[in-house]
């Protein structure tokens, strides 16, 4: 078990982040914190994706012009490119979410979900 953790600590760490993100989304009453939770959750997945590309002893996937490309030991570039795209998507989501939160705050004057529930129940 210890040996597995020592060699796979990157995976263990990402799944701890995964859990933290999920917990914040569920347990926090504050809407902004909930959105932060979503971001932590997404980041955990991004890190997980990037860590799958790791090659023992491999360098950055930049191929020098002079050498033979086949003999280089590099990390897989595909997950890194993919995660770059996913990060852009995540940023856009955060922006839309924050815009919605601004509107909710302007309408109800609160960011706490429990207060929000009470205000909406009164109407």
């Amino acid at each position: 078990m210890i040996e597995l953790l020592a060699s796979h600590y990157a995976y263990a760490l990402t799944f701890v982040l995964f859990g933290i993100g999920l917990y914040v989304i569920i347990a926090s009453e504050n809407l902004v914190k909930k959105l932060i939770g979503v971001n932590i959750f997404q980041t955990a997945i991004f890190l997980f994706f990037v860590s799958t590309a790791y090659v023992d002893g491999g360098g950055a996937p930049v191929v020098p012009a002079a050498k033979e490309p086949g003999r280089l030991l590099v990390a897989s570039p595909l997950p890194q490119v993919i995660v770059l795209t996913a990060i852009v998507v995540g940023v856009a989501l955060t922006a839309v979410g924050l815009a919605l939160i601004v509107r909710i705050y302007a309408e109800y004057g609160t960011l706490q979900e429990d207060t929000l529930r009470e205000v909406r129940a009164d109407e």
């Binding site: 959750f41 997404q42 997945i45 595909l78 996913a86 989501l93 839309v96 919605l100 509107r103 109800y108």
Partner: protein, 506 residues
Amino acid sequence: MSEADLLPVALIVTPILAATLPIALGLRFERAGWPVAAVTTTGLFAAALALATVVYAGGEPITHELGGFPPQYGIQLVADGLSAPFTVLVTAAAAGVLVFTRVAGPRGNAFYTAYLLLVGGLLGISLTGDVFNLFVFLEISSLATYALVASGDGPESAVAALKYLILGTLGASIYLTGVALLFMATGTLNMNELAGMVPAELDGQQLALARAAFAFVFVGFALKVAQWPLHTWQPDAYQHAPDAVTPLIAALVSTASAYALGRVAYTVFGPEFLASTPYLTEVVVTVGSTSVLAGSALAAIQQDVKRMFAFSSVAQFGLIVAAYGVLTETAFAGAVFHLLGHGLLKGGLFLAVAAVALSTGARTVDEYAGLAARRPLLAGTMSVMLVALVGVPPSVGFVGKWYIAIGAVEAEAWPVAAVVFLSTMFTLAYAARLLEKMYFTPPTPVEAPHAPGAVATDGGRDRVTTGMCVVLVAVAVAAVVFGFAGGVFYDSLLGPFLETISIGGV
């Protein structure tokens, strides 16, 4: 490369590029959005029809490799017998709903930008042949949907949109985890390549990764498709979205996710994998069946008509997911047909709800009392669609349920057959409540909370236009006509696709 090869690209690129026009032209012309959206969606509908014709005439999938990169590195777009009808449905619904937004909808150029982005994202989901690209298009369409839901007048719509955003993002992220696990197991993201590798070329550890990947993918999509108990975002989002937006998202957004689930489950993982993994089909069938029962029961107790139809969607999608789990050719065909039929019917029903709200202000079941006498056309088309939703033959709702039931009997999955029957009874329960109110309850002068504002603002003029009536009648007629087309669809359109994934061999 023939010209048809470029059609899938054109279908995705055109709406996304056109989405910039309403904002750009909006600097000079105040109401540029609607004409741009109308021209684009009509053109897309024609292109989708052309694409479907080529696909079915040739019997071969049309593929396009973006930028000429081979599928190992690049992204492939694929139009085959399964995706072609969905592109037609997406473009048709997008064009039909526009008729409503001209009078009823939220106006403003930004709205039409989001509208076109949504259409582009949905077409991307239908046509992509790459599991990661699917995630990107899923998020493009989701982002546009959040914006559209939030474009309602009241503050409630912002709360509903934020709830949808948080849960929708969770769903998409969980799907992305599944993609990461799948990539670890196989080293490719292309659906066709994956199909060749899962499960035939996988050994112990890789197979375990693939199984974990399916679990993540399934849970992610269950959130997106709104399966009980992950459905909680959906009724709020449907109810608080503007009237003219609900038909679009009800007809398309969850439908596209359910299509993507079927595509990933059957093309990428394949029936062999689904059948060989212990408890997999049982879990899928249980989730689907529970959604049918829970969704129907919740729909039957709702007072708000939009909310009632929203819970009804939870039930209908449950039926589709359960049919995916049955694993026979007939049940899969039934699921596809029910998916298309439900998209058509639910879109039409929400359009009718929007038209009723426009002309009379009625929103709850009680307020619908005596509608048939006041608005015979609206009540008539709505009844046809309701009866079709219940599944009375000959209608599109019947064909899907029929094939699912036959497939369940073939596979000896008796609970699914029972659930199909029960769902019909439940659907009848809430559809009959509405029918009874519309036709057999005299209009009572209820203190309708919505009525005065909605009608009086326009000086009493009936705001239901001829175009809206034409669309509603067209949907009602299509619901009946496609009821006769079940056999044709099965044999000539879906048949070639079913052969390629060979469910029959299981």
